[in-house]
Structures are given as structure tokens and as C-alpha cells.
Symmetry: C2
Subunit: 819 residues, 2 copies
């Protein structure tokens, strides 16, 4: 038997070692492999590379995934060794000082590590392979024999001196211990202490005053393996999707959605509640929890709205990283979106200026004397029903069918995007240079987060699924009215390549050092406005069965939550445990008949002084939103986001009415001024509610006709009397139904400022007919989106944008003026 | 004396510790600080935070920058301890077994570490502070006394038992040792082995077959400290500019420029020569070297040209990372560029639709009852000569002057950008939506790398300098003809914030594991086409005095090299040591009268069969480019990039002629097929040439009139008889001169396919008049760019773009089809 010890020079990469292992796996002259590597290289990737039949150490089948810090020995050891040492302890053998310990059949890394630890305990150690000639002699001199995977009774009893302690460990036992160690456990998480100041400083001052933990430390604390993260600087890391495979047998944690009542234009603090809630759960109640948030567009950060990392003492830090490039996902979307847009116009130009034959010769050129279809072209041929692979054999008709997409420019729905509030790009004419030969057309730019690719990122469940969705995106119709897709344009693979890193969620932390995923941020106006399915799925595994994942739905519950349930949960298959419905006294007063609330203008006195009548009247909206939640069969906890001008009587009144209206509980929260401590009661209520009976159901069946699905949402959720489709909308419905897209869920594009389509109608409007002006579709993302009135897809810059206050200190490198 | 041991819980971040140190520094009750931290926290940031007068350990003034792995003890120790142990060894005391060692006045981290090491050597150790009552007793029992910073003769002789060994170490000595250890030394770099295959596989296959070292390993090998890098995934890291401060006293290495003869449209391999040369220097000649390369635009990667990571066995790996998002710098430029563009149009709209007073009230609003100018508005007031700080005190005239930029839309030179080949954006009309109230205008998008911000990134020398350049960018003229800048629009700070990470160069590696910086890639058509000054500066420090930094100039030497010397070297103050001039037999044959060479079409037989006459005739171009190099007083080595169809006689002929023409040396290279081994002779020639006399000088004086500078370049470099300015060009020259921009260097925008302005004129054209059609300026970047004919700033997509072959394997996550 030839056993190779793999012992590469220090500095060798894991890939090199894996390659070497794979080579030796296939070498018939090598009967076994034993690894002898620096600690840092004992990764699951390396260990799993060893073929089981060549595995001398029993490494691969115990699925060593990570090194465990052993405090007693102050070093990193493979978990197998850890398990063996625990086993020895369990067997009551804790002192080996002065004893001679022989390891039999454990002469690889595990054996070496065991020997090293036993020596530190004061033992003299030796090792021996099974059937080695000196085994008998060595056994005679041993006080303790530790036997590897083979059973100890393989050794003749007469070889062993009387009184020898024999300890055996079986792979099965270790394997089981390892799997158990992977299971749910409370994180040993070092929380960051908060010392809230009063008055509360600006968001960026609070963020900067707190020092985040290094992200690799956080990753380790929550059970991520070294191989599963990609670090981006000190405070951000992408998490690999391979984790879903590793933890696939782990039960999911509880899934909590934060939604809101119909808000004022100022917003009512859903993001701060989301963050405050996880800070309370993890930093104050010691329960594993994760917040999953949307990545904000950079447009509003420099425009009007400012950042979106929460606020006050409930924030994601560093907030400037959160609000700026993050790990580049939105930039990747912009690149992918605009490559497709450029491909559409360029293709139309080339088709318009070339004969079928010339087009075909260019699309399928002779390269080094060979003419071949590329993979994506072969796929198109199959879709066209042309079962040929030799470019020379296509008939003229087939050539024409293949080469000419024949896009009808007036039907192009694919727009270019920028992540900037650039109002002058809302409507433009493109193609006016001479080189484009007069093929001008009207077009527009949307804000990057409005791209369908963003919606796909938010809904996808794997790389394969993302690639399929990207290919299915419909960008226009051809002149016969058939859909033209990204796949037809040959660009699916390139889009997937541009998005290959964006698909991994980004790990950050709250002000109290608890974990947060930031991933995807589809525009709530025309898409579903929820963060990603993948981040939720990964977080649900990481928190474990008793943990909580808290995520947020954009806008009021009538829009954000409805889409969360009917679109996002349908895509993911996940079942929410609790809905947290965020309300503010301010918004309720508005619904009760208070004066207009406008961004930028000072609040009227109704909002800064106690007014119980306005509050009581406005609770109709809260009640309605609770009822909407109940349509889906999920328990609801009302979180009253308390402002310093709210009176105790107002707060009590809201909570009272909320409970009467069917909320499982209703609690005031002060996370903005107090951090997680201010949301402890909410956290406790959520924990209780999560144990309630849950009878989650979707609102409508996908098989219903498009119009019927729209009507159900309008009537049951918004309280409309009926819906009314414009002729354009009806013709689009007919077209999508004919094209086979009728069974997709519905993503309503409606104002969030009223339950109805009219922003000025507060409270609970009734008796209205919801007008559907147009119906569009995001086929790759997988939904139909009816437009209720016009929805802007490109914000503008005001006279004095936020950027006037934003600056960078060139010495400290600190960002100033973000909020 | 109250000495505080800082001993925070494990997992504390460096920032927390630094904050605690800074707090204790200021605490009058604390007389000294001693650190007692986990190894991983001994960073320069932490240690330098200790105030010198409170420094018990002598840590801060020894400028502990990093932990050193001590192989003997197999642990990480601070370098002070390392220096002490070395000192002890130098003093001949190598064995302490059985001895009692007392440390006096060294009771902090250094003392503790020393004790620990001595204990491992078998010594019994103790420590004592100066003037402690038990000092005398302890001294009596010691065999060896190690004395900290205070002089040993502070101890009365009678206290010490006869025969005691006394060892003292002074801070000065340690400090000097530390500084020495920071100096140049040969890297202990693990090179990656290459086993070139024949025929040479595709670039991505070669790239993927090699496993890169983890980037943190590479960073450590080349002397970067942990605090100086920001890791982006496994293979990329950004390097902080703080390194320039740390190594400011380190002498620079040799600075090598790779330029080329006038190329064919296929390119002659400057990038592969650059990479091959550093592979040869470092992996084969064991000389520290760095390649500094441009980051390629994603547009061509998906369009026609493919990637730019080198090729064959001279590549940067992983090539897909190099060619895709990298670390997001180009995306940051796009975001910054487009924010400024949006700000211009939005400002014009708001000025056109508001009175001076309304405009002023919005620009300087009352917020929470207070009305204040922001910092950037105060700066604008000062520029306008209004020395007021109270918004209430401005006169009507001052309000109007301040609030109204009065941009003349017809003079806007600032264009939007995308990093996509989108030909339909070459000329567009913007502002056609109703919300923009009819203020339409014609505009264009450029490819992102054509943004002036990219040119600034390439030329800047610090964060402060970048911010100043961003503010100075002229985007238009006002109606009086005065320049309007980014600073006037209030956006400088926001642009700097968007660019704060992009300013840090990205570290990658070659196929042989040698270091590469990828940083900035200004469009060679209208900018200077060279990678960044900062990357070169950092690399020159890292390679040390005897090392080499190799960088590349775009296009032929007549353009790329001329700009490198006159623009880039002027901005950096760096002096090049050698120019490597890349030639190919193919291009020389073209210059000798061979048939046209066209991308995509097969090469004619003149290029694949021996033809000495064509080669000999074409060498006129090589000779001219050598002469151009000599204008600048720098030695030139000709690198003949050998193709497999080149005959030995052809190769010899070129080298012969090159040497006759004044090249220091001329050598054939085979790095494409053989990696660094194929460029060893080139590396040796470059090393020799670097020791030649160097009389570097710029070609022209900045104080000359713009037209004169253009004429000098046209005549001396291109060989033109004279220049001829169009009326538009002349009027721009007059305008820039009047505006005070006349003393900027010149950045010619001329075809690279001929020394003249006519691409079809090969060889060495003479007697032509160079027509200057227009003159533009990048004031922030700091150059005037005359247009010689029209230069495209937006490439297009062909009928069959590269993306047809690009795909992502969803299981292995591998990218296919990039080249």
C-alpha cells in the first residue's frame, strides 16, 4: 500500500491542493491519501476532494467542514479531532499525563492532531498502522490504545498487555456528532453595546460612532464557514449559495414580515422597526435573528430621500457603505440591463441594413475555416423547430427565420437604466447619429432598480433559475406579434455572467452587531418591492429552528405585503409566521382627517399636539390593514413606532383599538431613540405570535384569468367596488393571455398613499372603481403588472439635492452629510 | 502611577480598542498604557494610537506595523519582540534553559511575549517594574536580567548578584532594526509553475487551469501590511494609499514603459509583453517586479475586442474577474459622471422655471428654523467675491449672482456615460417628457472610460488632489462665456464620495503568481490612455530600489508614449528608466507595403510566409518610433513579439535593424506561448538598459501657447510639415487661453493606425499638414485635447457580438467564452 502524504509548500492555495488530491485520487499506484497541511487549508473543499476509498484518515465521510477553536489547547483543530477528544472525555479518561498512548490505524491528519494534543497533556505517544510488523511490540508498551476506524477486536487479545485502556472511535459516531454540531444552536455572538444619546444625533454620526465587528468575525459567529464567504473590505461579505446545500436538512427558522399601514409621504419607519426588532431579539433576548433588507438605489441617496439603512439607533452600519456602491449588485444590474438594450437596437439596425444571407453569414461566420452555431444559436434553432446543427444545411426559409428577429420597434418594452435621478432621460430620442442611418426611435431610461433584472434577482432561487429567467425576459414583439426574448438575442449567457456575483447576498450588521442581509431592491412602483428570496432562505437556515428572520415589504400592507405573499412567497415556497404591522400616530391622524403631510414642510400642530379624536378616527386604516393581513391567515402584531410628540393616551388608544381589531398584540416601540432595548416588547410579542396557529394561504389561484386576479386584489384588498380596464389594458391582457402568460401572479402598480388609486383619499375609501390604464409584464421575473394611473420610473433632482451637504474628508476618508 | 492594561474581550474590533486607547490617552488619572491583546489585534493602527508619553512598552515609537511569524516558536509575535530575540541571539545568549530570567521595566505586551518565548526555551521568568519594592530581592535571584528602555546603570550594582548576565535593549536600537526590516528586500514570493501546452489553448482555458494564490498571501509576500489591503473576494484586493506615507523614505524602483510601433488593427501585444516581462523578471530572474495595467471597459469585452488581461501564457488571472466588474471602479465613475450630468440638466430646468428669489429660497432653505449656507455654497460665494455667511444679508444682485449659474445649454461639454457599446446613444435628444417642460436638447452618451473622471482617476496623486480636480471640471460655459464647474453645481463632495474606493489600486496576479496592479483605463481616443499614477507610485515603493515596475502606454509610441511622458510623468514627477518598444513582423510587413490587415478577415500569405523585403522596408516605422523615444532621452529596448509564422531570418533582421537604429538592444520574445520563460532575454536586456545613462526630458514647455505645443508634437513626433486649425478649433484655443487654461499639456486625439492623421498611410508618412478640427479640454484631468478628425467616443455592437459565445455554467459557476 502506497500512502501519499500531501504536504505542499506553505502558501499553496486550496485549489492547488484540491487539484493534487484529484490527481492522486485517479492514480492507481496510490492506495491512500493522508493530508498534512497548515491549519488554514483544512477546508471542506479540500477534505471533500479525497475519494472515500482512498481516505486514510476518515476525513471525507465525517464531512469536516471547518476547524474548531479548542480553547483548552488554544489552537484550531479539525472537528474530527475535537469529536475524538470529546469522546475520550466522555469515557472518563481526562488525564494522560505520563501515559504512553498508541494510535492504531489513525496515522493521518487526525492521528497527528490527536498525538499533538495528547503530548500537550503530558502523554508519550506513538502510532502504528494495522498489520504493521511492529504493531505487536508497540501494543505491549502502550498504556492506552486509541483505535481508529477499524474495530478493536481485529487485534488479537494476547498482543495487548493487561490493564491497557482501549478506546475506539467509529466513523459513524463521529459523523453523527459532526452533523449534530452543525444543527441549530444559539449563536455565541458578541453584541455591540449602544449608549444612546439624547437628543438623537444624525444617522451618519450614530453610524460612525459605532465600530462594526470585522465581517469575518460576524460570519464565524453565525456559523458560516470560511469557504462560504467572500469578503469585500472590512464590513461587507458576500455569502455563497453553496450554504443552502450544506444546510438543506436544517429546519428553517420563523419568518416575520414587517409591513405598514397606508403611510404619509414621510414614511412610517418600517425599516427602523425591522432593524430594531432584530437588535431586540438577538442583542437583548439572546435569540438568533437576521434582518433581510433591500439595497437602496443611489439615485435617492443623492436626490431627495437620503439613505435607507434604517435610522437613529436602529441602523445597518456602516451606513455609507450600505447606501453607496455596496458590493456592486445594482451596478451589475445596470450593466446587464443596458447590454440587452444595446443589443436590441443594434440588432434592429443590422437587420434593417442587411440581406438575410449577409445577416446569416455574419451571425454564423467561418472561423479558421470552420462554420459552427454557438450553443445559444442551437437553442434558438430548436425553439424554431429547426433540428439541424450544420450551418450549411439550412434552407433559405430557415435561414431567414433564424437570422431575422424582425422586432417591431414600436413594441419594445425594454428600457435602458441608470442608478441616478436623471429626469431628462424620462423621454428621449435615440439613434440620431449618422452611423445609425436614420433608425431613430423614442425611448426612455428608468432608474436601475426598476429593471426587470432587479426583480429577477429578488425572486430567483438559484443560478440555474436566474439564467432561465434572464433568458425568458420578453423585450418586444416581432412583427407577427410573437414575443422576442433575451434568449433570442443570444445574450442570456452574458447576462448571467454579469450577474454571477450579484446573486450572492451581502452580509452586514446592525448597530448592535447582529447580522443583516442586504440583497436586491426592486422598485416598489412597478415591481414587488421586496428583498431577495435567496437572502431569506439562507438566513432561515442560519438562524436555525428557533431563530427569526425579519424582512420588510415596501409601501403599505395593501401593496407591499400583498405582493410579498402572492408573488414572493409563491416563488420561494416559504410560509411566513407573523406579520408586524407598523403604524404611527402621525399617519393615523392623517387618516382621521388631519391636514396634509408634505415632505419638506413643517408638520401642522395637529401632529405635534395630542388629539385623540383624530387618532381614533384614523384607526380605520389600521383596522383595514389588519383585516387584509388576516385574509392570508397569518397572525399580526401591531408595532406603534412612537415619536416624542405622541402622548401616552394616544399610544394606549392605538394599541387598544389594534387589539380590538384582531391584532394578536399591539406594542409601542422606541428603537429609533433607544436601539434594540426600545423594541424588546415588540420582540416578545412577535415570539409569542410565531407560536400561534398559522393558516397561511394565497389570495388567488394562478389559473384564474388575469382580469379576475386583478379584480380579487382590488375588491378584497383595496376595497374597490370593481375595476375598469382601458382598451389598451384589455388588449394587453388579451395579448399576454394568448402568448401563454395568463397564469402569472399580479403585481399591482398603484400609489401607496391611499388604499385606492387616488393618493388624497385617506382612511378607508370605498365605492371606487379602480381604473387599469395599462397592463405590462415582466415575464422573466414572472408577473403581470397592471398600471393604476401613471407610475414614474425615474425620479428627478430637486433644486437643492441632498448632494449639497455630502462631502468626503480627504484626510480621515470619512463621509459627511449622508442621512 | 496607574498603568492600565487594555484587555478587551475576544472579538473586540480594532476600532473599539483604538477608541478605548484614545479615551485613556486623555484620562489624566492614567499614567501609562500597556496592551494585552489577542495577536490579531496588534496592528499599526492600534499601536500607533498609544500616546508616546503613556507608552509603557515602547510600542508606538518603534512603529510596530505588523506581526512577524517566528518559525522557531511557530507563532505570530510583534516585531519588537522579534528584534529583542534577535538581539539576544546576537549577544551570544542562545540558551536560557534552567536559567531564571527577570525582566525589568518591560511589563507590557513586549515583556509578556518575551517571557512566553523564554519559558518555551526552558527558562523560569519573572518581571518587575522599576522602583518596585521587591526589585532588589528579585534581582538577587536572577541569572539573567533583561532591562527595558531605561538604562541598566539606574540599578545599584550591589543589588545584583555576581555573575548575572545583564542585557539591555534601547528603543533606538529596536527602532532602527524595525526601519531596516521595512527596507527593500527580495520578495520571498512563491511563483506559480507554468506548464505551457502546445498548441496554446484559449485564454480563458489557460487562466482557469491555473489556481491563483489567495490575494492576502500575495499581499503579504510583497510586504503589504494587513491594514493596507481591502480584500474583494479571493483574488482581488484594493490597496490603501496610506502605504505611500509609510514607505515615503523608501527609494523607488526602476520604471519601465512598454510602448509599441504603429500597430495593425489587430494590436501587436503590448499587454502580453508587459505581463510576460514581469513574469520573466520575478518568476525567472528573481527580481521584484510589478505590472501596472489599465482596467478594460466592459463594452468591448461583450462587443468585438474581447478582454484585455493579456493573452496566452502571459495573462492576469482570473481573467474573467479582470475583464468584468473587477472592484467596481468603472461603475463608480459611471455613477459619478452621470450624477453630474443629471445635476446640469436639472439645474437648467429649475433656473428656467423659477425666479431668482424662489431659486435662492430653495437653494438655501430654512431647516428647523435655521437658514444656512452649506460648505460648498460658502466656497461658491467666496469665488464670486461675496464675503458673507448669513443668507439673510445678500443683496438682490448677489442673490441672483449666487443662485443663477446661467448655463448656456449649447456649450455643455459634459456627456452622460454607460460602460456598454451602445451605438444608439451616440446622438440623442433628452428632456422630451412633459415634466421637463419643453427644455429638450441634443446630447450623447460616451463609453464610461471616456469620462473625464476616468482621466482624473488615472492622473491623481491623492484623495485631496482628486477632490480638487473633480471640483475644477468644466462642464459648460455660462451665457457670458465663463466656465461653469462641478464645484459651482455643488456636487464635488458627492463625486468624491462616489470615488472614494475607486482611488485605491486593485491588486491581482499574473499566471506565474507575480503581482499586478489594475487601475484606471482612460480612453486612449480622447484621453491619455495610461493606467494610474497612484498604482505606479505604490508599486515603485513595493518593489524597492532594485525592483522594476512595468507599465503600458496605449496605441503606438507616437501617441501613447508621448502622452505618457508629457502628461502622466509630468503629473507624477516620476522618471522612466527604460522604454520597451514592441514590434511584430506582421506590423512591419504592413508598413513595408504589405496588403491591408483587417480584423475578422484571414491574413494574406505575405504575413504567413517569409518575406524579408517587406520586413526590411517596414522597419522604417520601427526606426522612427525609436527616434521618437530618443527625443525624450530614455534608453529603448525593442521587444519583437514573435509569432509562429515568423522565420528566424525575419526575426534576426528586425533585431539587427533595431540595434542599428539606436535601440540599446533588441530581442525576440515568446511569452505568449511560453510565459515568463519566453521573455527572459527581454528582462535581461531591460535590466541592463535600466543602468544606462538617462537624460529624460519633456518635449515641450507648458508655458508655450497651445498652438505651439500642438505644432511641436505634430512636427517632432508625427513628422508633419505643419498643422492647420479649423476656425472652430482656433476659437476654442482662444477661449481656453482667455479662460486661463493655456498652460495645460496637450493630449492629441489622433488615429493610432498611422503616424499621420490618415489611417491608410503606413510606414513613415511625411509632408502632411495635420488638420485640427476641434479643440476640447479636460480641465479637472488637466489637459487640452485637440481632435485630429473625428474620434468616436462610443463603440458599437456588430451583428454578432462576442456575447454569443459567453456563458456561465450554473453548477461550477465557471465563465465560458471570454477571450
Amino acid at each position: 500500500m502506497r500512502v501519499i502524504h500531501i504536504c505542499l509548500p506553505e502558501g499553496s492555495s486550496k485549489d492547488e491542493i484540491v487539484n493534487e488530491i484529484l490527481r492522486l485520487n485517479e492514480d492507481p499506484n496510490v492506495q491512500g491519501l493522508a493530508l498534512d497541511l497548515p491549519e488554514s487549508l483544512y477546508s471542506s473543499k479540500v477534505l471533500n476532494a479525497v475519494k472515500p476509498e482512498k481516505d486514510v484518515d476518515g476525513l471525507s465521510d465525517v464531512n469536516l467542514g471547518r476547524l474548531v477553536r479548542d480553547d483548552a489547547y488554544d489552537c484550531l483543530i479539525p472537528p474530527t479531532v475535537c469529536a475524538v477528544m470529546e469522546l475520550l472525555e466522555d469515557l472518563g479518561e481526562t488525564s494522560y499525563r505520563g501515559k504512553t498512548v498508541l494510535l492504531v490505524g489513525a496515522d493521518g491528519a487526525v492521528g497527528a492532531a490527536l498525538q499533538c494534543l495528547l503530548q500537550r497533556e503530558g502523554a508519550a505517544t506513538g502510532s502504528c498502522r494495522w498489520k504493521a510488523p511492529q504493531l505487536r511490540t508497540k501494543l505491549q508498551h502502550a498504556d492506552v490504545v486509541i483505535v481508529g476506524s477499524t474495530k478493536p477486536d481485529d487485534v488479537p487479545g494476547s498482543w495487548i498487555k493487561p490493564g491497557t485502556i482501549i478506546i475506539s472511535f467509529s466513523r459513524d459516531l463521529l459523523s453523527e456528532r459532526w452533523i449534530q454540531s452543525q444543527r441549530y444552536r444559539k449563536w455565541d455572538l458578541r453584541c455591540l453595546k449602544l449608549q444612546p444619546l439624547s437628543p438623537v444625533p444624525s444617522d451618519i454620526e450614530i453610524s460612525r460612532a459605532q465600530s462594526p465587528k470585522a465581517v469575518d468575525v460576524l460570519a464565524k459567529e453565525i456559523g458560516l464557514l470560511t469557504d462560504e464567504i467572500e469578503i469585500y473590505g472590512q464590513t461587507k461579505a458576500k455569502v455563497r449559495l453553496s450554504l443552502l446545500e450544506r444546510l438543506k436538512d436544517q429546519p428553517d427558522g420563523k419568518y416575520v414580515l414587517v409591513a405598514g399601514i397606508t403611510p404619509t409621504p414621510l414614511g412610517e419607519g418600517k425599516s427602523t422597526v425591522t432593524i430594531g426588532l432584530v437588535q431586540a431579539l438577538t442583542a437583548h433576548l439572546n435569540i438568533n435573528s437576521f434582518a433581510c433588507l433591500r439595497q437602496p438605489s443611489q439615485g435617492p441617496t443623492f436626490g431627495v430621500k437620503g439613505g435607507a439603512a434604517g435610522g437613529g439607533y436602529a441602523q445597518v452600519i456602516p451606513m455609507e457603505e450600505f447606501n453607496l456602491h455596496l458590493t456592486g449588485d445594482i451596478h451589475a444590474i445596470t450593466a446587464a440591463n443596458n447590454l440587452l438594450a444595446a443589443a436590441i437596437d443594434a440588432r434592429i439596425l443590422h437587420e434593417n441594413t442587411q440581406s438575410d444571407k449577409a445577416l446569416y453569414n455574419r451571425l454564423v461566420p467561418v472561423v479558421n475555416g470552420v462554420r459552427e452555431f454557438s450553443a445559444i444559436q442551437l437553442a434558438r434553432l430548436r425553439r424554431l423547430g429547426i433540428n439541424k446543427t450544420d450551418p450549411g444545411t439550412l434552407t433559405e426559409e430557415e435561414i431567414s427565420k433564424f437570422a431575422r428577429l424582425d422586432i417591431d420597434p414600436s413594441t419594445i418594452t425594454w428600457q435602458r437604466v441608470v442608478d441616478t435621478n436623471d429626469r431628462f432621460l424620462r423621454k428621449i430620442t435615440v439613434g440620431q447619429a449618422n452611423t445609425e442611418k436614420g433608425f431613430v426611435r423614442q425611448a426612455q431610461f428608468d432608474i436601475a432598480v426598476a429593471s426587470e433584472i432587479m426583480a429577477i434577482l429578488a425572486l430567483t432561487t438559484s443560478l440555474q433559475d436566474m439564467k432561465e429567467r434572464l433568458g425568458k425576459m420578453v423585450v418586444a414583439n416581432d412583427k407577427k406579434g410573437e414575443p422576442v426574448t433575451a434568449e433570442d438575442l443570444g445574450v442570456t449567457g452574458a447576462l448571467a455572467v454579469l450577474m454571477k456575483d450579484a446573486i450572492k447576498p451581502t452580509l452586514m450588521q446592525t448597530l448592535e452587531g447582529t447580522p443583516v442581509f442586504v440583497h436586491a431592491g426592486p422598485f416598489a412602483n412597478i415591481a414587488h418591492g421586496n428583498s431577495s428570496v435567496l437572502a431569506d432562505k439562507i438566513a432561515l437556515k442560519l438562524v436555525g429552528e428557533k431563530g427569526f428572520v425579519v424582512t420588510e415589504a415596501g409601501f403599505g400592507a395593501d401593496i407591499g405585503m400583498e405582493k410579498f405573499f402572492n408573488i414572493k412567497c409563491r416563488a420561494s415556497g416559504l410560509v411566513p409566521s407573523v406579520v408586524v404591522l407598523v403604524a404611527t400616530v402621525r399617519a393615523l391622524k392623517m387618516h382621521g382627517g388631519g391636514p396634509n403631510v408634505t415632505a419638506g414642510a413643517p408638520l401642522k400642530k395637529e401632529y405635534t399636539e395630542e388629539n385623540l379624536q383624530l387618532v381614533a378616527d384614523g384607526c380605520c386604516n389600521l383596522q383595514k390593514q389588519i383585516q387584509i393581513t388576516q385574509l392570508f391567515g397569518v397572525p399580526v402584531v401591531v408595532a406603534l413606532n412612537v415619536f416624542k410628540t405622541d402622548s401616552p393616551a394616544e399610544v394606549d388608544l392605538v394599541c387598544e383599538i389594534a387589539k380590538q381589531s384582531g391584532a394578536f398584540d399591539a406594542v409601542p416601540c422606541n428603537h429609533w431613540s433607544a436601539g434594540g432595548r426600545g423594541a424588546v416588547k415588540l420582540a416578545q410579542a412577535v415570539e409569542k405570535a410565531a407560536n400561534q396557529k398559522n393558516s397561511f394561504k394565497y389570495l388567488y389561484n394562478l389559473e384564474l384569468p388575469i382580469v379576475e386576479k386583478i379584480r380579487i386584489i382590488a375588491q378584497k384588498v383595496y376595497g374597490a367596488q370593481d375595476i375598469e380596464l382601458s382598451p389598451a389594458a384589455q388588449s394587453q391582457v388579451d395579448r399576454y393571455t394568448r402568448q401563454g402568460f395568463g397564469n402569472l401572479p399580479i403585481c399591482m402598480a398603484k400609489t401607496h398613499l391611499s388604499l385606492s388609486h387616488q393618493p388624497e383619499r385617506k382612511g378607508v375609501p370605498t365605492g371606487f372603481i379602480l381604473p387599469i390604464s395599462d397592463v405590462r409584464a415582466s415575464i422573466g421575473a414572472g408577473f403581470i403588472y397592471p398600471l393604476v394611473g401613471t407610475m414614474s420610473t425615474m425620479p428627478g433632482l430637486p433644486t437643492r439635492p441632498c448632494f449639497y451637504d455630502i462631502d468626503l474628508d480627504p484626510v480621515t476618508e470619512q463621509v459627511k452629510g449622508l442621512f
